[in-house]
Amino acid sequence: MTDQTSTTAADLGVQGVPQDAMRRLAELQPGRPGSIFTSDLSVNEFLLVREVGFRPLGLVLGSSIYHVGLQVGRWGRNQELDVLSQAMYHARELAMTRMEAEANALSADGVVGVRLDVEMKEFGSDIAEFIAVGTAVKAEDGAGGGGVTEWRNNKNLPFTSDLSGQDFWTLIRAGYAPLGMVMGSCVYHIAHQRLGQKIGNTGRNVELEQFTQALYDARELAMSRMQAEAEALHAEGIVGVQLRQHSHTWGSHTTEFFAIGTAVRPLRDDHVIETPTMVLSLDA
């Protein structure tokens, strides 16, 4: 982020800005807890989010500690492990829903900068923590260029977005608003090669078709589920999609594909996206 002010370096000191700041600090009185905002935005994000007309209300968080059940796939077949897929979905849903409920309780219009993480725990076996953390914000009059009456999505819940403060600023300035985070997950069992195949492939440069097929199927399932969630929100599109793949603790033939992004809608039909200023830096 670049800030441009119309004063030179010396002027802020001459104008007495630091002295005004110190005068404010000297006046601080202990207040009542509860009328304070909390946020885990960085300073850059905090200032940019305020600039597009949103006020941080509070840090919101939802988490769930989940025991993931066992499911063993048929050794020689590519198949989705639906018990595990369900588990990953359910656990993330719990975390996200709780975070949305906290935001709702604050009467927020939305949640920005959401981090959705999963961490396997060392205590117990097959236990993972799913945690969703974000900052609830409220739109002030004139946010998004003015004239926007409703920021919540069609489920009357605050919008959620995993966009950083900088991306949120860019999106709002471009005339779009987030609707909600959408995700698709698929846990897939990749077939083992039969012994004959394995021997036949030794020393040859050849595509492993089953593995390729497994990769395609798993990815397609995850992405189409994400798509379906976006359609349920009546979104125009999805931005900031991340496609992650991890095996967690299930071994090398079981892997989870996880697609997550933010569904968006246009704020007005006649939006025009500003051309950015092009810059070539002359320093090394």
Binding site: M1, T2, D3, T5, S6, A9, L12, G13, Q15, G16, V17, P18, Q19, D20, A21, M22, R24, L25, A26, L28, P30, G31, R32, P33, F37, T38, D40, S42, V43, N44, E45, F46, L47, P56, S63, I65, Y66, H67, G69, L70, V83, L84, Q86, A87, H90, K121, F123, G124, S125, I127, E129, S164, G165, T170, R173, E274, T277, M278, V279, L280
Partner: protein, 315 residues
């Protein structure tokens, strides 16, 4: 000396270093060139590097009893569903004393650092690094280091502000009419007995299930830590807090009251900077332009930026 310094006198070594700085006027700092420029650009001056430290022996932590075991005939038994006891409730077996010590130790380190700042004539400390570690000769060492800055001609503060923001972030806030009030902390330790419901939900053959006991432990502990953070911010009279770190550590222990059963303990620490808005006096108000979106034409710079700002990189 075993008396607890409430902090009105600095150790002799610190006093002599500060006297030297005052005499020669040459300050040392831990600021980089960029940070130094950023601070100067908003009219503040660096005054010197300041340090506050405290070494504590943690002898008594509380937590001597299990909060969730039920009294039964001839001893304590494991209930079907127990409760999470967080440190702020002061209930039987809570870790209140430990949390109070952690607070007090960090607070002492920060206060001593602020006093060095005040002796140098500074108004506050930026770029504070607050660390905990083992002290080589025993005990836990709490250290706070930062750079003191001064607002020339500004009114003296009873308590200098502290903030873990970098020089650049500090300058950006000042330009937007926000000023850091101090560092705020929320600490909580929660304990929960492993009840039958939890044991059933974590068995090897159990299918997908949320482990309600652990979820409750984690949520209650975090909630308590956030409440403590709010109280800390309110004590300073600030308007809000920008959180930098939120850590959680979970461990288990043998239950002190029921044989062959475990308790789980979660320790949550939240640290951030409390900030408050200030208004410029009449005549100082200037119209600030909006942020400028730039598209850098230098491919190497953009590549480097892409690599640096990874999924969880700095923002």
């Amino acid at each position: 000396m075993s008396e607890d310094r409430s902090g009105h006198e600095l150790p002799p070594a610190a006093e002599s270093r500060i006297a030297e700085i005052r005499r020669t006027g040459t300050w040392g700092s831990a600021l980089s060139a960029d940070e130094f420029t950023a601070i100067r650009s908003v009219g503040f001056e660096p005054v010197g590097q300041v340090l506050g430290a405290a070494v504590y022996n943690i002898g008594y932590t509380g937590g001597w009893a299990c909060p969730g075991a039920w009294a039964g005939y001839g001893g304590y038994v494991t209930p079907y569903q127990s409760v999470t006891a967080v440190s702020s409730t002061g209930s039987m077996g809570s870790f209140g004393p430990m949390v109070q010590t952690l607070y007090q130790a960090r607070h002492n380190a920060l206060t001593r650092m602020s006093e060095e700042c005040a002796e140098l004539g500074g108004h506050g400390v930026v770029g504070v690094r607050l660390t905990i570690g083992g002290f080589p000769a025993g005990g836990m060492e709490f250290k706070a280091i930062g750079t003191a800055v001064r607002a020339p001609g500004g009114v003296a503060l009873k308590r200098p502000f502290t903030s873990d923001l970098s020089g650049q972030d500090f300058a950006k806030l000042i330009m937007a009419d926000w000023v850091p009030a101090g560092m705020a902390m929320g600490i909580s330790i929660g304990a929960r007995h492993d009840d039958w419901l939890t044991i059933n939900q974590t068995r090897w053959g159990t299918g997908n299930a949320e482990v309600t006991g652990y979820t409750d432990l984690v949520n209650e502990s975090r909630h308590d830590a956030r409440t403590q953070l709010d109280r800390d911010v309110a004590r300073m009279g600030a308007e809000g807090v920008v959180v930098k770190t939120m850590d959680i550590r979970i461990r288990d222990r043998e239950c002190p009251m029921v044989e062959h059963r475990k308790d789980h303990i979660a320790e949550v620490t939240i640290i951030g900077t409390a900030i408050t808005k200030f208004t410029r006096s009449a005549g100082h108000a200037i119209r600030r332009e909006r942020s400028l979106a730039i598209l850098s034409l230098d491919p190497q710079r953009r590549q480097a930026a892409r690599v640096r700002l990874g999924a969880d990189g700095p923002r």
